[in-house]
Symmetry: C2
Subunit: 105 residues, 2 copies
């Protein structure tokens, strides 16, 4: 049965943000990102693919294009294809994010 | 800024499961489903599109093909394209599910 538990799958590393893949086909992927305080995913862009960040626990600063927002558990953001984006955990606790992308790059 | 809060977007109806669209393009959509106790999404199939159910709050019985599982907050399930699936809220409380599909049917 293809069912997982987000908190059980999330990994964290003192070196850098940890990505764990949950599911994926050629149409999409779904990952969990674990960020220790101060860790981030640097600004980048996906041409032709939409991305969703969903904050499962902790706090995240999400930047999309020229705008950014500090958000907490239950926040969900859409990064349109072609938009530069990044995410950072300002702390003080860990942050867990659910991430979707369609299609899989 | 395309950021929303899942709990603030979820709607519920005494008549049937309520769907609220959060985001979407031709590549995907992301909805929130609000289910009162006893409400369900009947068995159905999407050819050529993958679906994800993620339990944000409450309890859900997820069926994919011939298997089913009773899961709670933080559970995430992948419904492969072509697989019959359904979801039900056995109660006693409300259930909120985040749902992704790629591509948009």
């Amino acid at each position: 049965m293809p069912i997982k538990t987000i908190a059980a799958e999330a990994r964290f590393s003192s070196e850098k943000m940890a990505k764990t893949n949950l599911f994926g086909t050629e149409r999409f992927f779904c990952d969990v990102y674990g960020l220790e305080p101060g860790q981030s995913q640097k600004p980048h862009t996906h041409e032709g693919a939409d991305k969703i960040y969903c904050v499962v626990s902790g706090t995240a600063r999400v930047r999309i294009g020229e705008e950014d927002a500090l958000v907490g558990e239950g926040a969900i953001a859409h990064v349109p294809a072609g938009a530069e984006h990044s995410v950072e955990n300002p702390g003080p606790g860990r942050a867990t994010l659910l991430v979707f992308m369609a299609p899989r790059p």
